[in-house]
Amino acid sequence: MEQERHWLTRLAILAPYAWLVAFFLAPFLIVAKISLSQTAIAQPPYLPVFDPAAGWEGLKEFLAAFSLDSYAAVFGDSLYLWSYLKSLAVATLSTLILLVLGYPVAYALARAPRRLQGALVLLVVLPFWTSFLIRVYAWINILQHDGLLNQALLALRILDAPVSWLATDSAVYIGIVYSYFPFMVLPLYAALEKMDEALLEAASDLGCPPWRAFLSVTVPLSLPGILAGSLLCFIPIMGEFVIPDLLGSSSTAMIGQTLWLEFFGNRDWPVASALAIVLLVLLLTPLLIYRQREASVLEGRG
């Protein structure tokens, strides 16, 4: 339907656009700017501060004061590099675990009787809505020294003495897998549900045993779902803060924690900004892939 740009259409485009440019895009530019600034014991704790009243000379001074010190710090200090690597490792491993655990559940959901599917999907999604923090906290309950996990394992005589589950990497993985489970299951379910059962029947008719049909028909067809679910998990897990903070140890922090520490603890805004920018650049490729996928899926039909 082609019209002259009706004022409603203009509003529909401009209002959210303006909001997002102001509160999403512009802030990133500011982060970039601050990452190029120097730390200062001042309010705000960085230099230079742009003073519009200073005019053109002020602007030149402003630009001259930019430095790459923060980036040097980020790349020079092994602490930060290990932080990135740790995040990368945790994100990759968690995503794989999520994929392995989530696929059977998504598959079962897709195979369930149609009238039950809605209710079952709701059941899977419901915990997601009952507060992220609460769910992580629930695991503290279970994993702490006198918590239920130890109690159960002692009772079953698998353990002789309570084990420290908290403040370990395993606890972090459990927490992450628990929290991000629906993010993996739902896209997988969406892709599997679309699959025509007749394809499996055709494979069977052509002499393909069930397990081979699964590998050569079901899995390839669910690839878009696998990709979507993986991106939906990997990208945010990279920047996770709450879960490693509550469940993990402080031996090697993930980048989210490091960033938080630099910002609130050391009050080193330029370094924190530089860390954020580097993280953003690392995530750029998966982000673009994600945007490309979602855009083509949802807008293509419009």
């Binding site: 982060v31 609460i134 960033l259 419009g302």
Partner: protein, 272 residues
């Protein structure tokens, strides 16, 4: 290989295990909130003492009030902006900066909150804006409007455009068409979007922590600071309440959407 209609044992087990995994920690937490004992490991009978303790915990109640008000305001703003964004993306074929626009809609969905939180805080500092209640509202609106846009867009894409064309053809100008034809038929999706935004705002910790200011402590921030010191039974009670509230809202939203959509689908589908 099963035919639709019955679940194989394998599938049933997977589903059961999956759901158990998801609900066990929550169930434990809920049950524990009624545990008279302070210790998780000792059961000393049913009791509501922690809920009573909550009522006299002024700090917690204040935080709850802040959270609900922020959630309401940001959800409403996000729904308006997100619906407009969804309309723009599905109805307008080309406009300048469309690529950037859709990028800005999808990116916040997955971007780590530490990045968005940091960037917003720096914006507010650069603009010398006092941080507090309203900065949290702005931050939450920005994040949740993207979720609303995605939800509403998914509905708009399946919306039968010939209904809008029929209205236009019969003399109804575009704005009135939107209000009298489109909106009544997609409002379940818009309402779901609102509820999604509400739940997300209520739940958010990281973003709020970055942009908060004095006197604007949200419930998650409060819970978080308490939790860092260890498990406390009152927290179990708060969490149970939040679970019940959000679950009710969600189930209501889902039922509403399903019933309305089923009826509309029957009416439309049989027309063709």
């Amino acid at each position: 290989m099963t035919t639709r209609g019955r679940l194989s044992v394998v599938n049933l087990t997977a589903l059961a295990l999956g759901l158990a995994f998801l609900y066990l920690p929550i169930a434990i937490l809920v049950i524990n909130s009624f545990n008279d004992s302070r210790l998780v490991t000792v059961w000393s009978g049913w009791s509501l003492r922690w809920y009573r303790a909550l009522l006299s915990d002024d700090a917690m109640l204040a935080a709850a009030s802040v959270s609900f008000r922020v959630a309401f305001l940001s959800a409403t703003a996000a729904t308006v902006l997100g619906t407009l964004a969804a309309l723009a993306l599905t109805r307008v074929a080309r406009f300048r900066g469309r690529l950037l626009f859709s990028g800005m809609i999808y990116a916040p969905l997955v971007m780590p909150e530490v990045i968005t939180g940091l960037s917003l805080l720096l914006l507010f500092v650069a603009l010398a804006v006092d941080r507090g209640f309203w900065t949290i509202v702005i931050a939450h609106t920005t994040l949740t409007l993207c979720f609303v846009a995605v939800v509403v867009q998914a509905r708009l894409v399946t919306f039968d455009r010939s209904l809008e064309e029929a209205a236009l053809d019969l003399g109804c100008p575009p704005l009135r068409t939107f209000l009298t034809v489109t909106l009544p038929l997609v409002w379940p999706a818009v309402a779901s979007g609102w509820m999604l935004a509400f739940a997300l705002s209520l739940d958010d910790l990281v973003l709020a922590s970055f942009v908060t200011g004095p006197g604007a402590t949200t419930l998650p921030i409060r819970i978080y600071s308490e939790v860092r010191l260890g498990v406390k039974p009152e927290i179990n009670a708060v969490c149970t309440i939040m679970i019940v509230v959000v679950a009710t809202v969600l189930v209501a939203a889902s039922l509403m959407t399903k019933r309305r959509q089923a009826r509309d689908a029957a009416a439309l589908g049989a027309q063709l």
